[in-house]
């Protein structure tokens, strides 16, 4: 049993294919678990980061009480939500009310099976990867619609109708922007493109350019269209009409509470990460580090592989600064100790990453080299996703909310024509180039 498990691992580590395709079902299952747990943890972290970042945008401190600098706040929140009474309104459609959050959650999490964190760091490499992602993420709207309907209340119903109309409209512009990126994958000798997520990144690697800069500014415009549409898809500010607090109290999840409400939040953040991952894969070169064609060679590889360690080192440094700056009152003793431990933990991770980077310097088949490579891929992918997540927070802090008719106007009269135009131009330019 043990040896077969180890064999399964090593066979995966030696395979250039994702676990689902390499036939390594055990590893694929473990991978699914890792990703689901990882997404849940990232959502918790994101919760803390959003509250903190938003607070600092708004000249306040945000959570400070639970743990040093509120680091344990998300855990406290999660506990609270789990222990809260799960209220189902009497007049609600019980079954649908119960199922609705699950639909959204399942749709948001299923998408992760095709997200390529690296050339072999994905659960599966589907031939229809991007189609599958768009399709499954569009199922999320069903959860919102059914939630709004099942609540049997006016505000949720209006929120649900708004949100479904909004998501269906922006899917059109989003899909066309995606198609123009897929079109770019076919610019090679044989003229066949791919829908596979891994294939798209490999096409960028092969052509030596991120699709963001391809046919400047066509790629950029398509990317901007997608970046706007993905905010609308995930119902985030300034397109958060479905849960517009000042208009509809809380929109489609007005009647939800406790764990079921937190499932909606989980689904929302998971969907945010998922759409950011699509944008990163299609336009920002996925797991590739910056300037993949100019800055290659062993020396650059080594320099880039130091980045994960440097990032964690910087985080550790911040934590150390926080520890030092904490007031010396006895009240803060435990918090100070906690932050110090956290800093140590981060520093340890940084050290570990440095060690792996240095040990795996030579591109041989040693375990360290493989680890270094995998960490590198995942790091660059996550870094790009993190930038998008920060943008989501930034938008929320800065902009007022669109009105429903304006939202529709922007979607149909501005974004759709532009994305169609970009698609046509990309096709024309592509034909001339090849």
């Amino acid at each position: 049993m043990l040896t077969s498990t180890i064999n399964a691992f090593t066979s995966y580590l030696g395979s250039p294919l994702p676990p689902g395709n390499a036939g390594n079902q055990l590893w694929a299952l473990i991978y699914v678990l890792i990703i689901f747990a990882g997404v849940a943890v990232v959502v918790l972290c994101m919760n803390w980061i959003e509250r903190k970042a938003l607070a600092h945008f708004q000249i306040r401190l945000g959570p400070m009480r639970v743990g040093p600098h509120g680091l344990l706040q998300p855990i406290a929140d999660a506990l609270k939500l789990m222990l809260k009474e799960d209220i189902i309104p009497d007049e609600a459609d019980k079954l649908v009310f119960w199922v609705a959050p699950l639909i959204g959650l399942v749709a948001a999490f299923t998408v992760y099976t095709v997200i390529p964190f690296g050339p072999s760091q994905a659960v599966s490499d589907m031939n229809i990867g991007i189609l599958f992602m768009l399709g499954v993420s569009s199922l999320g709207v069903l959860g919102i619609v059914t939630a709004g309907w099942a609540s049997n209340s006016h505000y949720p119903l209006i929120g649900a109708l708004r949100s479904s109309a909004q998501m269906v409209s922006y899917e059109v512009a989003m899909g066309l922007a995606v198609v123009s990126a897929i079109l770019m994958t076919s610019l090679n000798r044989t003229g066949t493109g791919t829908l596979s997520m891994i294939g798209i990144v490999q096409a960028q690697q092969q052509q030596g350019i991120w699709f963001l800069f391809k046919f400047f500014p066509l790629g950029l415009i398509a990317f901007v269209i997608f970046a706007i549409a993905m905010v609308a898809e995930t119902n985030r500010s300034p397109f958060d009409l479905a849960e517009a607090e000042s208009e509809l109290t809380a929109g489609f999840h007005t009647e939800y509470s406790g764990l079921r409400w937190s499932l909606f939040m989980l689904a929302e953040y998971a969907a945010m990460i998922a759409v950011s991952a699509i944008a990163v894969t299609l336009w920002l070169g996925g797991w590739l580090h910056p300037f993949p064609n100019a800055l290659n060679g062993p020396a650059w590889e080594f320099i880039f592989s130091l980045f994960p360690g440097l990032t964690f080192g910087a985080l550790a440094l911040f934590a150390v600064i926080g520890t030092v700056r904490m007031p010396s009152h006895s009240f803060f003793r435990i918090q100070r100790a906690g932050l110090a431990v956290f800093a140590l933990l981060l520093a340890f991770i940084a050290l570990l990453l440095f060690v792996i980077a240095i040990l795996g310097r030579n591109p041989d088949a040693s375990i360290a080299a493989r680890f270094r490579e995998g960490i590198d891929y995942v790091y660059w992918f996550m870094l790009k996703v993190a930038i998008f997540m920060y943008l989501f927070i930034w938008y929320r802090a800065t902009w007022p909310r669109y009105r429903f008719d304006q939202l529709m106007k922007v979607g149909w009269k501005v974004m759709l024509p532009i994305s169609l135009g970009v698609l046509i131009l990309t096709a024309i330019v592509g034909v001339f180039v090849s």
């Binding site: 708004q58 009409l241 802090a397």
Partner: protein, 399 residues
């Protein structure tokens, strides 16, 4: 109680200029057309709703998202302030007025004190008036800041709220140092001010004068040129000057519709004629114009404060007022320009120590009448924007 003077005043003075003053009652029972049922939706906005600024309940009749009509249900915060006045002496009633428009308590106090002074034929000394002007204008800024923050929050921009609260704090600190209270200040007394300015008052106010203009610029960078803000506010909640006048709407709402009416200029009180300031007016009477008008008003208030603090005269701060205030029988109406519009006090005295009848003309209450006219045919999101732009305080609406 047969000869209450107010009872004879019939409210039939509405001119016909009102183009489409709506029928006051919605036909809540039967939909007009047997169309899709869910198309004609009646929803209750409030009294517990994040965007109704308190306990206002608006019954909305919707066609999808479009508003077919509204009806405001008020009174959830009714405390009977006017009735309380009949059972208190003039002096005792003074703190109660702070509880009406609690974000502009100083203005309320000013209006009440001046009305009673007028009844008594007493004039507050110039130094008292200057202090009153400084504090009232500071309060106007504070009120507009609160309006700006909550209005922006209603429209979805959450950050300006915190910026305005940060800067409002400076004003409240001055209030606290002056009279010990931050919100319900009870700053003025009948006949003048009770407190002399504290040491460092001038410095504090001057510091604020230097501190605040960049902050207004900061708000404006966030909102004035913001495309979404412009789209959300331009041509939203338009009200014409005629309709404003017909409905008795005053304050920035009236001025944004293009009527140059400001009691500080029109019927100057409390030495306002000493100061040089502009009355901003708008053109379209939409939410964006009201926003701009209020932003300019803040800057103009700074101008007034600057002139007042530089020309603060020496002298007494209290006029000769009898210990027991017993005005001669008669009636008086005095109005001031509160941050939200014309705040009037109508006091009937029967010669006793208590008012026979006291009636407040609250600007929020009157302005709220325009809501239905302004939101008909608009969308649900606009109702929120219009409630925000009317700048109502439910404590004042319900009294």
């Amino acid at each position: 109680m047969t000869d209450v003077p107010m009872a004879n005043v019939k409210d039939n003075t509405l001119p016909n200029a009102v183009s489409q003053v709506p029928s006051s009652h919605l036909d809540l029972e039967t939909p007009e057309h047997p169309y899709l049922d869910s198309n004609e939706l009646i929803i209750n906005m409030g009294p517990q709703h994040p965007a109704t600024h308190g306990v206002l309940r608006v019954i909305l009749k919707l066609d999808g998202e479009k508003v077919l009509g509204t009806e405001c249900v008020i009174g959830y915060l009714h405390r009977g302030v006017e009735k309380i006045a009949e059972n208190r002496t003039y002096t005792m009633f003074n703190p109660y007025v702070d509880r009406m428009d609690y974000v502009a308590a100083v203005s309320n106090g000013l209006g009440y004190c001046q009305a009673v002074e007028k009844l008594l034929n007493v004039e507050a000394p110039p130094r008292a008036n200057y202090i009153r002007v400084i504090l009232t204008e500071l309060n106007r800024i504070a009120s507009h800041q609160l309006w700006l923050g909550t209005h922006a929050l209603d429209i979805g921009a959450m950050t300006p709220l915190f910026y305005t609260f940060r800067d409002r704090e400076e004003i409240l600190k001055i209030f606290e140092k002056y009279c010990g209270a931050r919100l319900t200040t009870h700053a003025f007394r009948i006949g003048g001010c009770q407190y002399e300015t504290y040491a460092g008052f001038e410095k504090d106010v001057k510091n604020f004068l230097a501190f605040f203009p960049p902050k207004i610029d900061e708000y404006e960078t966030l909102l004035t040129g913001n495309r979404i803000w412009i789209e959300r506010t331009k041509n939203v909640g338009v009200i014409s000057a005629e309709d404003c006048i017909a409905l008795g709407v005053t304050g920035p709402v009236l001025r944004a519709s293009g009527v140059k009416w400001d009691i500080r200029k029109a019927i100057p009180y409390a030495n306002y004629s000493d100061f040089d300031f502009e009355i901003p007016i708008g053109e379209n009477g939409d939410t964006y114009d009201r926003y701009l008008v209020r932003m300019i008003e803040m800057r103009q208030s700074l101008r007034i404060i600057e002139q007042a603090i530089n020309g603060l005269p020496e002298g007494p701060i209290m006029a000769k007022v009898p210990k027991v205030i017993k005005p001669a029988p008669g009636e008086i109406y005095h109005s001031i320009e509160a941050p939200k519009g014309e705040l009037g006090y109508f006091i009937v005295s029967d010669g006793s120590t208590q008012p026979y009848r006291l009636r407040v003309r609250p600007p929020s209450f009157v302005n709220l009448q325009a809501l239905d006219l302004m939101v008909r045919g608009m969308l649900v999101a606009d109702v929120v924007a219009v409630i925000g732009t009317l700048d109502i305080v439910l404590g004042e609406v319900d009294r």
